[in-house]
């Protein structure tokens, strides 16, 4: 069975769990994003057909909430917290340094698809401000040196595995 088929079966299971109900759309999109990594156009069309609701409704919901990713994220994701506490503590400077060092703008990925730089509005760890999340690891009281080194480590780690 191909990877694509397996995912579709998992999605079908989720749809069934929710009884194909329109009101479960957010839950379904959450799970779909977990399964596929992001929500592309075909996937959203598929969900719209399965729930028998207009594509405009599904696209409307998917684009309204910032948690849903409509573009394929990079292999590694760096998320800067732009909440108030982090902003006051100078997260902006760290973000600028990361943008410069890895030649990537926030909200985008590097051309080779290895790194995405995203921003979020507060991860709720404000006492540790400023915070940056590298893959799933939260770096509290971050400095640009620590963050850049960490990103280099995760990017380099892959290369070592590939060898």
């Amino acid at each position: 069975m191909s990877k694509e088929d397996k995912r579709r079966i998992m999605l079908e299971k989720v749809l069934k769990e929710h009884n194909y109900q329109e009101s479960a759309l957010l839950e379904i999109l959450h799970r779909a994003q977990e399964i596929y990594g992001y929500l592309d156009k075909d996937l959203l069309m598929d969900i719209s057909g399965s729930l028998n609701i207009p594509p405009s409704h599904v696209f409307g919901v998917a684009t309204f909430y910032s948690f849903f990713k409509l573009r394929k994220p990079g292999e590694h994701v760096v998320t800067g917290c732009l909440g108030t506490a982090c902003y006051v503590k100078g997260v902006e400077k760290i973000m600028e340094a990361v943008e410069q060092e890895f030649n990537v703008k926030r909200g985008h990925s590097t051309p080779d698809g290895r790194l995405s730089l995203l921003v979020t509005r507060c991860i709720g760890a404000c006492a540790m401000a400023p915070t940056i999340v590298v893959d799933d690891e939260v770096i509290g009281k971050a400095t640009k040196e620590i963050v850049i080194q960490k990103i280099k480590d995760v990017l380099g780690g892959d290369k070592a595995e590939n060898r």
């Binding site: 108030t84 506490a85 006051v88 979020t120 509005r121």
Partner: protein
């Protein structure tokens, strides 16, 4: 502990946040309330050897700032740091679920509402609507079924009180919901939680499963005819979803866009049925009110504003963390006594109260008491309980611009004042911070802010101009300096476009 042979006498337990986030990881040793700060695996060995085996607390590693806790008053966070949140037995041992038992065994729904009314409790979600009054409205509504939605969509950047509560004491929220459900006659409840809070989600999921298996949720709660079932619903990153009609749209699987009221959710909420929407902090107060009586609760705080409030104290302050203080405490006590003053010996400039749509208050207003009405009077709001301290390195014009940008991003786009008005305000800020400001911009900002506040559909638009209005009111000279002298004392503004490109 095995190494020292004390593993049988001691129990290592996990617990929710103690509130001293700036010196984590923290370890609490009981008896005696010894709190160790910034613990590392290497330090643990010393602590076990000296403290537990020899009975000599390691003084220089103890949390030294007792002031931090002295002025706090812990009701909502009563169990935080005292119980293992993943064990329902711990919660029950602290008296948990006895308030629910008392309700079901000895009180009528009207009796429960009476106690909540007497307590004077007001909604902790920000608006401060009297909780008892809200409950009687939903209880009186004729149609059925009825629903409860617990709001844990803590979207304010810089705020983490609800997250900590859910992670430290999830059963307090569940018990509060059960009591509310009994009082208003609801059989189904939802907890709407941000998907950015994975640990809180896991903790609540476990807690709900435990409550179900112990017969506290389901078709016959504690073997009585009262039935109540509870589900989690996940947000997806929309600040506006904290608004009460928007949260309903989101639970129904739609875009979180507010709608005009009336009809109020008390009469027409989820699927047009009567719905009680309550912040989780409000709900966590309920078991205490039932156990000890409304009159007991009303003794804390001020006459018009009873009880306590949790605040996330952050920014340039020495002791950031999660605090709970009685209503009526002054801002000065919070920032200087509990917070330990401004960090790094810098000068205090302002304190932002109430999140991105709160107000920036100068030093002269630090004597203001913290309660709904006093805060509104000075231009701030209680909001969801964020207090951010700003020092001399913060530019007030840039701060107002930052919050306006946040609200532009988060505006749902439904009503024009908020959608177009805020965007226009942000344009003016961009002009000023790039050195192209004119004196007439100040008047335009003032006029637009008042217009957006008065004409927007929901709380987001109505409060979004607060940072602009308060910075204009208390820090106007900074605006003038930016416009006339093109000077930013904090050095935040006037980056040329080239510099920005380069960065």
């Amino acid at each position: 502990m095995k190494e020292f042979g004390v593993d049988r006498e001691c129990k290592v337990a996990r617990t929710g946040c103690i509130g001293t986030c700036s010196v984590g990881p923290a370890v609490l040793i009981e008896p005696g309330d010894y709190l160790y700060q910034s613990v590392t695996p290497e330090k643990v060995r010393d602590i076990v050897r000296d403290h537990i085996v020899l009975g000599l607390p390691v003084k220089d590693m103890l949390y030294s700032n007792r002031e931090y806790f002295k002025k706090q008053h812990r009701l909502v966070l009563r169990n935080a740091g005292k119980i293992d949140p993943l064990r329902i037995e711990d919660y029950i041992a602290m008296g948990g679920y006895s308030a629910l038992e008392k309700c079901l065994a000895t009180m009528t729904p009207q009796g429960v509402i009476y106690e909540v009314r007497t307590s004077g409790l007001r909604g902790r979600g920000g608006a401060g609507f009297p909780t008892g009054q809200k409950w009687s409205l939903v209880a009186r509504a004729q149609s059925s079924p009825k629903y409860i939605v617990a709001n844990l969509d803590e979207g304010d950047p810089g705020v983490f009180a609800n997250r900590t509560l859910a992670e430290a004491d999830p059963h307090a929220i569940i018990e509060g919901m059960l009591i509310a459900a009994y009082a208003i006659g609801a059989q189904k409840g939802y907890i709407y939680i941000r998907s950015e809070y994975p640990l809180a989600i896991q903790t609540l999921q476990k807690a709900i499963a435990q409550a179900k298996s112990m017969g506290l949720l389901g078709n016959s709660v504690l073997e009585t005819p009262f039935a109540f079932d509870l589900e989690l619903r996940f947000g997806a990153g929309a600040f506006v979803a904290g608004e009460e009609t928007a949260i309903l749209a989101s639970v129904e699987g739609r875009r979180a866009m507010p709608r005009p009221r009336p009809p109020y959710p008390a009469n027409s909420g989820l699927w047009q049925k009567p719905t009680l929407i309550q912040n989780v902090e409000t709900l966590a107060n309920i078991p205490l009110i039932i156990q000890n009586g409304g009159a007991w609760f009303a003794k804390t705080g001020t006459p018009k504003c009873t009880g306590t409030k949790c605040f996330s104290l952050t920014g340039k302050v020495n002791n950031p963390g999660l605090i709970e203080v009685p209503m009526g405490i002054t801002l000065r006590e919070v920032v200087f006594d509990i917070g330990g003053g401004v960090a790094d010996g810098k000068k205090f400039k302002a304190v932002l109260v109430g999140g991105p749509s709160g107000g920036c208050l100068p030093e002269t207003l630090l004597e203001s008491p913290i309660d709904y009405d006093s805060l509104t009077k000075v231009g701030a709001i209680m909001g969801s309980g964020g207090i951010v301290v700003l020092d001399e390195d913060s530019c007030m014009v840039d701060t107002a611009r930052f919050f306006t940008e946040f609200c532009v991003d988060e505006s749902c786009g439904k009503c024009t004042p908020c959608r177009a008005g805020l965007a226009r305000v942000k344009e003016i800020f961009d002009k000023i911070t790039h050195g192209q400001g004119e004196m007439s911009d100040i008047g335009t900002l003032e006029k637009s802010s008042v217009f957006i506040r008065d004409a927007s559909l929901c709380g987001l638009g109505q409060t979004a101009p607060n940072p602009v209005i308060t910075t204009l009111r208390y820090f106007k000279d900074e605006y003038i300096k930016h416009i006339v002298e093109k000077e930013c004392e904090a050095g935040k503004c006037f980056k040329t476009r080239d510099e920005e490109e380069e960065a």
